[in-house]
């Protein structure tokens, strides 16, 4: 009896907490305190001359430069003024072009390996060996082969996206609950129905995990490719600003890449959640 009252009390106070404005303010504070502290420390450190402003510019300067990069209205970014959209677009479409072919081919090959022992023998050893070569090690060869331009960039990004998509697709097929497969066969499903209505939906969560990893890798590789192989994109901007000692532009560009990477990841997550409304598991950390 006593215990019941306690737990009911705890529940009540939790409901009250949600309405309590002090409680809500404290939650906002929990989210804000660390980023705010970092920014403040950075700003103050720069103001008191702990670091030189042109070496490590304060957040206010970075923000100002970023604003001019995007709008071209204050000339704070000088030669880079107003170029942001072109660079951001160049990077974004390279990411999606490379990600597109890499993921599509990766899913296809991964499913083949998972579905057929023969295909596994044909492709799996090669995939397993090649995936241990860091994609960055492919840079010289792809420059020799494709020359300077979009082609090596899209090749490298696609190559990086291929492996997680392929490996997770294979895994997705292999971890299918055999009981579901047997049940469908017992009910009279033919090969095509088994593939389309049992194997693919059952493998989908794992396939989409691979797709999400591929998107992350694509943003890493677009920077590598743009530093080395092309004269546009945020990776190019980053490197060029570094060469001209514009560290404020460097930091604004880094943050831009982070932001676009984050938005791309959200895009994949939204697509995943639309496809997998059924796959909500209860976990310690809640849903992700």
């Amino acid at each position: 009896m006593e215990q019941q009252t306690t737990s009911a009390g705890a529940q009540l106070s939790r409901v009250e907490n949600r309405k309590n404005p002090w409680r809500r303010a404290s939650i906002v504070l929990q989210y804000a305190i660390f980023p705010a502290a970092v920014l403040l420390l950075w700003q103050v450190g720069s103001e008191i001359g702990f670091v030189r402003r042109n070496v490590f510019p304060p957040p206010s300067a970075v923000l100002g430069v970023w604003y001019d990069l995007v709008t071209g209205s204050t000339d704070a970014a000088a030669r880079y003024s107003g170029t942001w959209l072109d660079h951001a677009w160049a990077s974004t479409w390279r990411v999606f072009a490379g990600f597109g072919w890499g993921v599509a081919l990766g899913i296809f090959v991964g499913l083949l390996i998972g579905l057929s022992r023969a295909m596994e023998r044909v492709f799996d050893p090669t995939v397993q060996i090649l995936r241990n070569i860091p994609v960055t090690a492919w840079v010289p060869l792809s420059l020799i082969f494709f020359g300077i331009g979009n082609a090596p960039a899209i090749f490298l990004i696609g190559l990086g996206a291929f492996f997680p998509a392929a490996i997770n697709s294979t895994h997705g097929v292999r971890q299918i609950n055999i009981t579901l497969y047997k049940a469908a066969r017992m009910m009279g499903a033919n090969e095509r129905e088994l593939l389309v209505r049992v194997i693919l939906p059952a493998a989908l969560p794992s396939i989409l995990t691979g797709v999400r990893l591929a998107m992350g890798i694509a943003w890493v590789l677009v920077v590598v490719a743009e530093v080395l192989a092309v004269r546009s994109g945020l990776g190019y901007l980053l490197n060029d600003a570094y060469l001209f000692y514009r560290n404020d532009v460097v930091i604004a560009t880094m943050l831009s890449i982070g932001l676009l990477g984050f938005l791309s990841d959200r895009f994949v997550v939204v697509v995943r959640d639309i496809l997998l409304t059924w796959n909500k598991r209860e976990t310690f950390g809640g849903e992700n």
């Binding site: 047997k182 469908a184 017992m186 009910m187 009279g188 033919n190 059924w278 909500k280």
Partner: protein, 263 residues
């Protein structure tokens, strides 16, 4: 339709360089519309026997006939209810029940909408039609799985420890649910269990099996009146049967244990 006969069936499994005899010279006849339960210690091959009838396995020697024809593979005439509920997690309860009828092989066999409605009603899941399996309790999940198998209207139900993962209260409710369906549809049922009470309460015939190698030890006619009622479990005919089966299973299990200790 749903006559099953096994004639001198042997099933061996090769694992690496050792050969395990799962079933050794097993003969068994199941009449049409009969409920036969298979009971025995683990490793006695009762699930293997069920898999042979279902067509998931082929016998090493001997014959498995259903309605006089050798089993060539799994098919919708023999509906299998698995211990691990075979529901597609991405489909709602009603779509799971409709799944079998939506397959090319079963198209046009029945009005899917009508069958789904009937099954939902029969299993008491009408209010949960749009839920996904993960949102159901264990008992509801197994009822939905049974409904999805009944929807394709098999002549035989093959059940592999269907209630094994349920708590004992839910299990006894599910047993009465199964009997209720059987009274109505009179399908042939072969049910594997390690629960002796369940084996007797449901059965026309209880087959007691022994392990290493799997053999049929005794076939016991359960001459309790139908429809079965829960209170029969405290009657003396039932208790006599249960004591008898328990004795065999225990003796064989101990013998099996002693043998494997020597091995």
């Amino acid at each position: 339709m749903g006559r099953i006969s096994l004639a001198s069936v042997i099933k061996r499994f090769e694992t690496g360089d050792s050969v395990v005899t799962a079933l050794d010279d097993v003969s068994l006849a199941v009449q049409d519309r009969e409920i036969v339960t298979l009971v025995g210690a683990s490793g006695c091959g009762k699930s293997t026997l069920l898999n042979l009838i279902a067509g998931f396995e082929t016998p090493t020697a001997g014959q498995v006939l259903v309605d006089g024809h050798p089993v060539k593979g799994p098919g919708p005439d023999r509906g299998v209810v698995f211990q691990q509920t075979a529901l597609f997690p991405w489909l709602s309860v009603k779509d799971n029940i409709a799944f079998g009828l939506s397959l090319r092989a079963n198209r046009g066999k029945a009005d899917t909408q009508q069958v789904v409605e009937r099954m939902l009603q029969k299993t008491g899941l009408s209010a949960f039609r749009d839920r996904h399996p993960a949102e159901l309790s264990g008992g509801m999940r197994q009822r939905a799985a049974i409904a999805s198998v009944l929807a394709i209207n098999p002549s035989t139900l093959l059940m592999d420890e269907p209630f094994g993962s349920l708590d004992s209260l839910t299990r006894s409710i599910m047993q009465d649910f199964l009997l209720e369906i059987w009274e109505e549809q009179r399908k042939t049922v072969v049910l594997v269990t390690h629960d002796i009470d369940e084996a007797i309460y449901l059965a026309d015939k209880t087959v007691v099996m022994t392990a290493h190698p799997g053999r049929i030890c005794e076939v016991i006619e359960v001459a309790l009146p139908r429809p079965r009622r829960y209170d029969m479990r405290s009657g003396s005919p039932y208790i006599a049967l249960r004591d008898h089966v328990t004795q065999i299973v225990r003796t064989e299990a101990i013998k099996g244990g002693a043998l494997s200790a020597v091995n």
